[in-house]
């Protein structure tokens, strides 16, 4: 089960990077990065998954005494929560810069931005 999620995550990373590297349109590149980002999160969550266990929340089904035997690893989940929030910020930043480039250059084609090209 964890391997399937992990393989899906790796495939998503590859798809996202392929999209970001081959497309010339800034919006498509941003979407590629977002897909790769989802893949990274999926891999991280899959690392903390333990077969046959439940979410790290204590209630009547998971009493405090049995917690260590019944729950999955809570740490990757906390890290992925951080990563998702930072990812939203990064995406918003990329969109804002794409908008600025569109306003200054009148195009979203990355091939037309030649100032930093060597």
């Amino acid at each position: 089960m964890a391997q399937i999620a992990m393989a899906t995550g790796f495939i998503l990373i590859l798809i996202g990077l392929y999209g970001a590297l081959t497309n010339r349109n800034l919006l498509r590149m941003i979407i590629g990065f977002t897909i790769a980002h989802s893949g990274v999160n999926l891999v991280l969550v899959a690392v903390g998954y333990l077969s046959g266990r439940t979410a790290p929340i204590l209630d009547s089904a998971v009493p405090m005494a049995e917690a260590a035997e019944r729950i999955i690893d809570p740490l990757p989940q906390a890290l992925v929560l951080t990563a998702i929030v930072i990812g939203v910020g990064v995406t918003a930043l990329m969109l804002a810069y794409a908008y600025r480039i569109y306003v200054t250059k009148g195009t979203l084609d990355i091939g037309k931005c030649r100032e930093l090209k060597w």
Partner: protein, 233 residues
């Protein structure tokens, strides 16, 4: 085409690394030592039912403070980048089609419920799946629905910044109070821990997480509002 070949070669190499990682991955059958500590101690020491919340707000609270700071910086930079050379709002605006009846009625019905759900999610962050970040994102989705219905609607930037700054100050202030009155920075045992599973339990975790929720909601809203205000320029 040589560029595409390079890209494919690069991805193939990366894929080989991933395949190696995947084949060598052996899922654990037992919790490792850190996770076991969190699983056994967080309810007894901190009084939270949701162990992920205990990690985010208390054990690794400093990380969360850093994360909220990064988010604040991002929101500020988005505002800065988008406001360069913006024309005044008085200029001729793009004519939009009137919003449909369905969307308007749906918005009137749904926005209060969405905001209520957001508040519920972050107030109960220490008991149920969810918390400040998720609740804040839900609050911002309510704002997004309002912007979809009326793209020319203007939210007060001062109000958003005030909510954001106040929540940030409360977060840091409670952390510092923890140094003075409890075990250290962001220690939640300022208030009594109470019974695990009740709303008023886990010390200051619900308070901190509620203010994180407000702060995240304000930051996401400010990004959305800034992006939406590019419409009329």
């Amino acid at each position: 085409m040589i560029r595409r070949a390079f890209v494919l070669l690069l991805l193939l190499a990366l894929g080989a690394i991933f395949l190696d990682l995947l084949l060598g991955f052996v899922p654990a059958t037992e919790l490792n030592e850190t996770a076991r500590y969190y699983a056994e101690r967080s309810a007894a020491d901190l009084g939270t039912a949701n162990i992920t919340t205990a990690i985010i707000v208390t054990y690794r609270g400093l990380d969360t403070l850093g994360e909220v700071t990064v988010l604040f910086l991002t929101a500020a930079i988005v505002g800065l980048v988008l406001s360069w050379g913006r024309r005044s709002a008085e200029g001729p605006q793009r004519q939009l089609l009137p919003t449909g009846e369905l969307l308007t009625t749906g918005k009137n019905l749904l926005v209060p419920l969405i905001l209520l759900l957001g508040v519920y999610v972050f107030v109960n962050g220490h008991l149920t799946p969810g918390g400040g970040f998720q609740g804040g994102a839900i609050l911002a989705s309510g704002i997004l629905l309002m912007l979809l219905t009326d793209p020319m609607k203007r939210f007060s930037h001062g109000m958003i910044s005030a909510v954001e700054s106040f929540s940030g100050l409360v977060f840091v202030g409670l952390g510092l109070l923890g140094v003075a009155l409890a075990g250290g920075f962001l220690d939640n045992r300022l208030l009594p821990i109470g019974t695990v599973g009740e709303l008023f339990s886990a010390g200051v975790i619900p308070i901190i997480y509620s203010f994180i929720g407000l702060k995240v909601g304000a930051e996401f809203s400010s990004m959305l509002v800034n992006l939406s205000e590019t419409e009329d320029s």
